[in-house]
Symmetry: C2
Subunit: 438 residues, 2 copies
Amino acid sequence: MEASEGQKRLPTVSAPTPIEQSRDRGQIDRRTFLTRSAGMAAATATAWAAPAAAADAPAGVPPSMRTPGRPMSGYGQPSGFEKPVARIVAAPYGAVAPGTGAARTPIHALEGTITPSGLHFERHHNGIPEIDPAAHQLLIHGLVGKPLAFTVQALLRYPMTSRTCFIECAGNSSLNTFLKPPQVPAGAIHGMVSCSEWSGVPLAVLLDEAGVDPRGRWLLAEGADGAAMSRSVPLAKALDDAMIALYQNGERLRPEQGYPVRLLLPGWEGNMSVKWLHRIKLTEGPMHTKDETSKYSEPMPDGNARQFTFEMGVKSVITRPSVGMKMQAPGLHEIAGLAWSGAGKIRKVDVSLDGGMSWCEAVLQEPIFSKSLTRFRLPWEWNGARVQLQSRAIDEKGNVQPTRASWLAQYAPEQRYHNNSIQTWAIDADGGVSNVYL
Amino acid sequence: MEASEGQKRLPTVSAPTPIEQSRDRGQIDRRTFLTRSAGMAAATATAWAAPAAAADAPAGVPPSMRTPGRPMSGYGQPSGFEKPVARIVAAPYGAVAPGTGAARTPIHALEGTITPSGLHFERHHNGIPEIDPAAHQLLIHGLVGKPLAFTVQALLRYPMTSRTCFIECAGNSSLNTFLKPPQVPAGAIHGMVSCSEWSGVPLAVLLDEAGVDPRGRWLLAEGADGAAMSRSVPLAKALDDAMIALYQNGERLRPEQGYPVRLLLPGWEGNMSVKWLHRIKLTEGPMHTKDETSKYSEPMPDGNARQFTFEMGVKSVITRPSVGMKMQAPGLHEIAGLAWSGAGKIRKVDVSLDGGMSWCEAVLQEPIFSKSLTRFRLPWEWNGARVQLQSRAIDEKGNVQPTRASWLAQYAPEQRYHNNSIQTWAIDADGGVSNVYL
């Protein structure tokens, strides 16, 4: 797989000093992490990236200043130099069903917490339908006082709300259940998670208008795609923080994200945020659709499958450095990554250089939103030793990201959903970064 | 000008009841605003957009469910149905200098607070240069201990930070200084403001590395474009919250926003956030460049020009309803808009239906960031009366958005920068929305 632009960020390697552990529970603090990981006391005085000294005069006039530039445009695009930063497309059914599969976000090439809409991950069960918003309706029916059909035009007049949150596919990180650790960029493994500012109408407002029959305790949400993607949702979630999403990062939803209408269930399995939403039926119980029985259920050691694991677990991944990048020089580096939890806010992210034997607390970038991507960062003086980098997230409910071994131990061998286990990146003496199982 | 998709949002008109004012300072509260503006007590029980009742059965199978959809892609684009939602391009020098001018954000067609990067406003003084990041350097020189040249690759290794903030051109809203109020969409008047999550390196870190000479109290920032756009910046701002921005909404900067490197000075005149940044020179005082003398200075009544009005004033605009939309039905509507201040957070936004005689407090959508767009909303039961809609923002420093008359009174007649005055939209009996001066 092509290495990304992130590859350029990290310098070469010389031999390092082992990390010192404190005697107290194997933890190291942030200052120790910074200064002792390279065995030097004055690391903070070192230049981060050794810029070249320059003569005290402008470095000539670059060609771009000698000619007029190009004009404005109606809708802008990334620089041509950024072409390699693209979604990583996997269409396992090839020419037979080219729209069935996934396209992952290149999280290793991105910064901050917002995913640009053009790079938001895709996961489709029968491709992206083209839907004319003027012809689309959202039906609310079943156990309601008054069945209602909403045009998109009508929905756009309702009171709106906005929130930033992640969507993660339940199958994200399933590549790390393979027998051998795949040597592909972080986005190819963990890129079925993305984060946007979503705006739309609280579902509770529309349900209130239809009037929910007391027997209606669940709802069925169905998409208008060729897969008729459909999931059962407990009413309590619908009344809590569910949104009929119409806008993504300021503009109307992208086609891959359900244009013109999607359901948004913050923190829950991505496919439950049903795209191209065309009906919601109030029911007494779950409907056990194909999408919650043959898929999105977890085979357990006793031979049964566990159904309805709605919430996405607490999780983190270091995006820089990661596979496909190469350490190009000893010295100061920033370790950066993303953490998230379907249960609420991230409280803490720990980073280890020694495969989980000792830990140091990373800095969480403000603001920290509930059920949203949180950026963590940690300065690191590296002098070239082999290290085994890990991150471990803890959320506000006290949930702790599990090790790979403890996560695997819960399930039957073929289970691959909800893999929120700790990722290990090994940095070798030659500066290469690889995916390893510990 | 073509009306935008926002036009579809608002319903028709019948005759209204006058708004009741409280006796206390002409203010009305939010409940009064909602229930009395239509002269009815039970407005909250009314449906927002009168959805059609539907038979208790799915409304057939739409065509999109009968065929596979299209496959995944590397980089996604908006739906073809959203083509009218585009930047509003103004290139006043036509074929002679097609890259000189502006392209405004269609704020009337957007929701939430993030501006999608493809719709972030543009303002160029000689077009968009194409810059190969591998050939670009940022020079820090002048009154420094050690002049330094940073490659883009080196900058990408530095510790990063992210923040969400607006950028507003000092010339935004200058159309409202015309003799007659222009009847164009809100974005064509006020769309030289946009909001992104920016990530990059704090400028203070790089200045610390170069070592600022005590005589260095200002810096000159110069872009590598054909206009050599350059501005003088007090050192205090550079050390406070200035950023060397490398990423915008998660991905690398867009070419129109300074790829590969721009200066970001949160809350200050947009052109000071110099794009395509290639050098920063520490100086004893301001350099009085062409871009801060012949432009971006304010003609005053005494014949002098006021220089260095860095901070953008407290401001707001109602985006829905606004010019180009048509009220299509009486009933409940949401008034929505944006507020911002270069001085910090928005504390309060008031809305008036009667041209500023009485006010009601709008709801501010959380989270509220400093120097960032803040969305405000207010439910409104409208029964068709002519109204004069206004919004008035107040920031955390107590700055109050001025009326048009009081704003104009400060300056010489030809002054057009820093227009943060209150916008009035009139809604007529036929449901049309127009721009009026009060």
